[in-house]
Symmetry: C2
Subunit: 193 residues, 2 copies
DNA sequence: TATATTATATAACATGCGTTATATAATATA
DNA sequence: TATATTATATAACGCATGTTATATAATATA
């Protein structure tokens, strides 16, 4: 009983997300969301108890988008796929990417620590990476993770040469992976003989 | 004629910098600075017209510190020195590093564009890099710049393994430089013969 | 020493924020 | 249809911010 709500949770999150996409997560305000929805702040408070609840929902939205981007990358090479998904996120949602990555939250660390063993396992099954010890694989993964974060930051901040598109990103990511792996193999060989 | 000012510009900037170091650039307020100085906000306005003027001075301070850090690195290998200076900044002033790098300001781009030709010139004089074309040198520099930014971000956000100190940072920076250069040389050779 | 000048502390103002109280409008149900 | 219930718009509250007006204190100079 009572009138229908003017907006769903999703619509409110959409509006908040649009603001975050341009101004960053910190610059979302209730009044801005209301303005974007063409209403007062009241409908927001019907859907969300307070700002913290809305923020949680927004973070979930961000995570869902990340996972969606990851699903869309399917070369079979998981750490290349993760790299490309992260790059797409950095490009398409750069303001949010900056806020998430550059804020010193535990999301990243948790994520890294959860993903590392999975990726190491995948690497063990990769014929291209045959013969490396676990320690060597970890070193390779770390280098690639560092490179991938650096590349994402540069994409988000528009620091790359103008002609850099998706293909160039792919190329440099793969090329650097080759560099790291090839060199690791050569070092291994040099030590052996 | 009149009483002496209680604080110099420098003292005000010091206080602001201390706040920024812990809370980030965005969380500096006139009242917080005043509190840290043990005074009211009035002396701040004697030294600076408004917030924007103080912010400019603070950015200059940040740049000076960066340059000081760079001066202290002197291996002769300029892009290694730049890398280490950036890493030290990321470690010692992580909140500010995040705000500077992750904000999409033009400082970074300007800096990169100014430094690139200088570094390329230095690379041309480096015997280790003999035989590479300018295009190849640019590719190597770009990869190292990406890696160095990634490493700095990870340092600032505490994402590296616990045992990572200055020596480990040096090692991984040099090791990756080797990877990139060695692989570039191998690719060159493969193409030739 | 007297005075003009300048620094300071205090308190106020305007603005923007999250949140909420309240009156009004809309609607499902009896 | 009448009513209870719920959504909405509006305006307000409390708080933090940058900035400024004002009264007071300090000091260089005549």
């Amino acid at each position: 009983m009572g009138p229908k709500a003017k907006f769903t949770k999703e619509q409110v999150i959409d509006a908040a997300f649009e603001i975050a996409q341009i101004e960053g997560l910190d610059n979302i305000t209730m009044r801005k969301i209301a303005e974007k929805l063409g209403s007062s702040v009241a409908p927001i408070y019907v859907n969300f108890q307070d700002t913290s609840e809305l923020t949680k929902a927004l973070i979930e939205r961000v995570i869902n988008i990340s996972q969606q981007l990851l699903k869309e990358e399917n070369t079979g090479n998981p750490f290349f796929d993760i790299g490309m998904a992260s790059l797409r996120f950095a490009k398409e949602y750069s303001a949010i990417f900056r806020d998430i990555v550059l804020r010193n939250n535990d999301h990243m660390k948790d994520y890294d620590e959860k993903m590392a063993p999975i990726l190491i396992q995948e690497m063990k099954n990769d014929p291209e990476l045959e013969g490396f010890t676990e320690k060597e694989l970890k070193e390779i993964l770390l280098k690639m993770r560092i490179f991938q974060i650096g590349l994402s930051v540069m994409v988000a901040n528009g620091l790359l040469p103008n002609n850099y598109g998706k293909q160039e990103l792919k190329d440099i990511l793969l090329s650097t992976a080759d560099d790291v792996i090839m060199s690791a193999r050569i070092r291994k060989r040099d030590l052996k003989y």
